[in-house]
Symmetry: D2
Subunit: 305 residues, 4 copies
């Protein structure tokens, strides 16, 4: 298939959509981003890559970081993880406290904020004070790339305006589902959300998820097969908040979005993808990014359904 | 692959599980069924079939009927369907009124009871008084089998004890999301839940869903590609109530379960499957059936992830 | 105190408010009523009565009927009543299903619809088929007045459009908190809501509640002291749906409103009051009626606070 | 009436109840209190006081502090207060986040924790850094008593374990219903809950509420009549969390309880009361204290109903 041609077509076809959607504005540091950014990158098992748009422009990965922290925690905690987080879609916005209260502080899944905060807490129980540098290290390793860092300004802005996330962590602490100091956990969490990567880097970083847990280029194993299957099925059912069902239908690939406008997606046994465009739809996912992925699976017939 | 051998292995391996779970007892007519029934059937595109257990024993298809009525309504109503039903996982039990109230009478998806009742109402608006016979006719056609009927005793029992479903339909009527007389709609709904089929018949009946909407044997088209993709993605994200995420991980196939103990599943481009065993797990899905399907995708590596 | 003069003043002062509010329109039979009706009646222990406006004009008592059915059930069931209904304010609209579901079919109090339906069911378990005529008989007796009946057209309209109430009764039935046939119970309930009375009749009918359960004129005892206290405290904390706190502050008297625009209120040890005006505020209580009562307690300083 | 004799009788009659209930244990500093403490004090308008039990033993006033902060804020903010807090009973536990989320960060009333925290925030906007000393000063003034302080150990314990309250304040901040720094607001709030007073002091401190806002002894006015009525009606409808309806029935007086085991109550135009006993019933109110007040209004017939 001529992937480069397909990407160029997509770039043309999504243009009319730039007028729609809205850049995330819950923190000042995010709302300054130019709304018409666009980039899309494919990463194949043989090392080939294809891109359109600003493939090297770094953006805030935000909730895409949840994929990496979950992938770190899964081999350490194994089934223990299920005692502290469920693995079902939530049917509620990503930062809802309601369900958390009815379910006694147990988050619905690791991809809503509450669940990701519990994962960060679990990592902190292992890495005691070194968690954030371990997270960065992990992402560098799966990316085979040492040039990855976080944006201090975004992290500061998150910590100054992240009242709802602070509410979540304190509520879970009241249910004893947070083991470490809440301020420490949130400091790590806000930093992990502020990691900056380009579509080229992110598509490379999730390639091992398309290959049952093994990076097909470096041959390093990061997850066993069952764990990789868990992560992929979780991305399909819970990767896009309350639009996960819609994404599964339109795109038909396991994926994870972030409010920075990025989306990663996996074509099992074939490739990984990352698309970025900052304006979000009303469910909080990249509007142009979702459409670009939909065009991609329509054109390539690579939907898993 | 030696499918028959795999089925025989599964039959052996699931035996220890018959002591667990609980037959559905919400209506008297269902709780009389023998708890140790088991059958599993595969239907391939070339017409080949493989079965173990009581492949010809008929059981109440219950919520599996939702797949057929949704498949009937989709080509008639097309995008109109989204005005009356959402398509996202629910994060609540299949018969919850809470979400329905907060979302103004719009069900979360067509596979929870409220959503399926709206679909039945939509069909009744088209078939005016002939809806149930049209449903039966449709199932006979997709099954290529004239010997399908419903169980009058089960239907009567449903209508006598289905108070929560009657609550659902009246609540939606109060939000004007039901167009026809509530008693008529429920009469059809209770009958469609009471249709009796064997695993052999059901696996045949959903074969077209594995082939983009076209029955690969009779070559008849029932859905266009996009509609078939919608149905398959819906089965994956919403097919098993509040255990849909778990089913996606363990089995990794689009599927739909019913409280009668049946589960249908689809291997895209390859085959359709039906398994039956009446005892349910605490989420209301066949306990042995779920395990049998998990063993099947583990042994065959046919999970879509 | 010159009660007649006070009533005349009130009548003048409420005039500018007739432009606000909205007549109940959930059933066709109610929305036809003229929006500018107004009447207010006081009934003293010595038999003296004072009225302004259309004191003999009959209107639909609607939820005020809940006071009478509860007063009938309390001496029969005594503490048994608490097993099937709580007695706390609800913090939710009068017809909410949410709280009912979370509290397993046990209504918050006897003055929300669900609670009143349970009371009707409890009466039907005693009066088997004669419940509605017993309710009418009871109201005639406490009113010392044989000329009270229900409006057949309103009752029919209720039964044709009362989908949410039918949802409530079926939901409670699914939790086994309804003993009799749901259709029978609702037939009685819709009729009791359709009873027609004037402010003069209603103020007379609740006089015994101001006198610890004994009609001060006929000397008949209907409730013991503790039961009368229960009813009065219930009217104060739960008598006006989600505006009960506001009514307690503004008016400061135990009272009960109905969507027909009527409100009854009690000045303990002194008198009973009824006011009527059909336009409702956004919480479903008579807008002019509430103001009239507020003016009354301000002028007379008869608030219990 | 021989109040002293009545108090002595009550003291005897409540003895068998000491075996029931449970001392508050959500913070370590509270659970150390001896469970069999008991004291009850009456304060009359003419200065006469009556007490039984440990009338001078100080205890943590906890939520009773909400009465004082609300009484401070009401004359400052007047109707502005209603923009940030509703005044209706909640139908949910005192620290529920659910209702707060559905109602966009507006607490149901000033007597649940969320509402009281908003009041503290409103005071901080006025007193900028001096709020807690102003609260202490106010309580000293209404008590006509300079010997009132807070318990530093309890305040510290609250701040170390008050995760749910920290969740509440952050959630409201995310809805912009908190104007000041959340940590500062909580520091004040935890201190006000930790104020220590005896039943004798507390009964004196709320005397002005029984007299339309004017201390009948010092003749100082703290609230106007309408504000005093607002506070009293609020205590009746919302003063005891999800047992407010039950308290209104059993006791029939405006009152406010705290998890320290104290309850204050008002007999309008006559006296104020305080009772203390640390073991709580399952709704979080003093078990023995509630019973003592019930016995008091039964013996004296002073219920407002």
């Amino acid at each position: 298939m001529n992937y480069q041609k397909i990407l160029e077509e997509i770039k043309k076809e999504i243009k009319p959509l730039f007028k729609d959607g809205k850049v995330a504005d819950y923190i000042p540091a995010l709302k300054r981003v130019k709304p018409t950014h666009f980039a899309m990158s494919l990463q194949l098992f043989n090392g080939a890559t294809y891109s359109v748009g600003e493939e090297n422009c770094k953006f805030s990965i935000q909730s895409i970081s949840k994929v990496f922290t979950y992938a770190m925690a899964l081999p350490i905690y194994k089934k223990e993880i299920y005692k502290r987080i469920n693995h079902e879609p939530s049917g509620n916005p990503f930062n809802s406290l309601v369900q958390l209260e009815y379910e006694n502080g147990i988050p619905r899944n690791p991809f809503i904020n509450a669940g990701a905060i519990v994962i960060t807490d679990m990592l902190e129980s292992v890495y005691k004070g070194k968690t954030f540098s371990k997270i960065l290290e992990y992402i560098k390793e799966v990316s085979d790339n040492n040039e990855i860092d976080y944006d201090k300004e975004v992290a500061l802005s998150e910590s100054q305006f992240g009242f709802r996330n602070i509410a979540l962590v304190n509520m879970m602490k009241s249910f004893t589902n947070i083991s470490n100091d809440t301020t420490k956990v949130m400091d790590i969490y806000f930093k992990q959300c502020s990691i900056s990567m380009s579509t080229k880097e992110l598509s490379r970083a999730v390639l091992y998820l398309a290959n049952h847990g093994v990076d097909p280029i470096t041959k390093k194993r990061f997850l066993n097969e069952s764990q990789a299957k868990r992560l992929n099925s979780l991305m399909l059912t819970c990767g896009h908040y309350d639009a996960s069902g819609d994404f599964a239908f339109r795109v038909g690939l396991p994926g994870k979005s972030g409010v920075g406008g990025g989306i990663v997606a996996i074509v099992p046994n074939l490739m990984s993808i990352c698309v970025w465009s900052p304006k979000l739809n009303d469910k909080g996912n990249s509007l142009v990014g979702t459409k670009a992925l939909e065009l991609f699976t329509t054109k390539t017939r690579l939907s898993i359904f």
